[in-house]
Symmetry: C2
């Protein structure tokens, strides 16, 4: 498989790629070998031009009047998103959410392999959660550097999140997946994705209250 040149893709496009991927896997499991842009667009409720542009970022183009070959397109998306090689990550915060994230097998499908957890709570240190060891937080920078860990997952309460992020930055971590309900103050070249479950739940509860009024 050829290496896709690293150029900036728009975030909405990247966010849609997993949807295309799951759709194409479903097509593949139904024995489909070829699929047209129009067909994908209709099934996913998108504009055909948008579909063509989105899929082009992975380096693959459909054939006019034929469409895309399903299997190479799947591989192209996997390649583009780095899903075909696992990236090791560290997690900080071995509480209830951290335990849930450590136990979720699905991340591996998306190329993420959480190899160790860190906490400052002495009662948690030394324990194993879903087979991953919980280490003292102050060991993170040294270990991250030695193991070339680039991704950190934060699952601590809001008030401890900035401290966890600072330790990650110190250890050379470059991308943070933040599940704490707070914005982090980070160097400009850091990559960050905020997963604010509290916010989503707030919107859901409130819109429900408005809907059943």
């Amino acid at each position: 498989m050829s290496v896709v040149p690293i150029k900036k893709a728009p975030e909405p496009t990247i966010r849609r790629l997993p949807d295309y991927y799951h759709y194409l896997k479903w097509m593949q499991s139904n024995g489909r070998e070829v699929v047209s842009c129009t067909h994908i667009a209709r099934d996913l409720d998108l504009d055909p031009t948008q579909v063509r542009k989105d899929l082009a970022v992975t380096g693959i183009r459909g054939k006019p009047k034929v469409g895309y070959l399903v299997t190479p397109l799947i591989e192209s998306i996997e390649n583009f998103l780095g899903w075909n090689n696992l990236t090791d990550a560290f997690l900080v915060g071995a509480g209830s959410l951290g335990t849930a994230l450590l136990g979720y097998q699905g991340f591996k499908q998306y190329g993420l392999n959480i190899v160790a957890a860190f906490d400052k709570d002495k009662r948690k240190i030394g324990k194993k959660i879903h087979g991953k060891e919980v280490l003292p937080l102050d060991k993170l920078p040294g270990l991250a550097e030695r193991m070339h860990i680039l991704i950190g997952v934060i699952s601590v309460p809001a008030e401890s999140a900035q401290a966890a992020a600072d330790v990650m930055v110190e250890g050379g971590i470059r991308a943070i997946w933040n599940f704490a309900p707070v914005s982090l103050d980070l160097p400009e070249d850091m990559v960050v994705q905020n997963e604010n479950l509290a916010s989503s739940l707030a919107v859901l509860s409130r819109q429900l209250a408005e809907a059943v009024k």
Copy 2:
């Protein structure tokens, strides 16, 4: 506590309320009784006018030259978001993600109480996961109606998500928190929040690849 009249609040405002809440709880734990709009705005990196507008939706106004009383403001946010009374919910999909969600204690803090799980896999039915029973999916509509369940959580693979949503609609569920990486086709009056972990992780991995190129 007075009941806040149900009127439509803008989604970005609702998404920010949990951040204010966590910030105010932190102020409270540090013994602060009063906080000004400007102070909140500076600490949370927001515009003071925005802060004033956001907090006003909960029905509370600050006093000029004084600010907000911390404890009543916290209660007002809790009241607005329904966090002070637990809402029961059903979960469909007792796999790895479902298990993680069932085990996460933090949702209760945000007013969500997942009371039962449903699955179509016979090997899972009858088991207990984190104390919650796994029931056959076809029992959902009847039970949801009888128990007046209004919120459903979907944690099945992409290809089973629409079927899970259809069963929820049949049972009178009005709001869906969808963790499956796929868009759902729902009646117009349904409330839905999509939590696409695959998309977030795709953006994180890809931006990291672009950053370390």
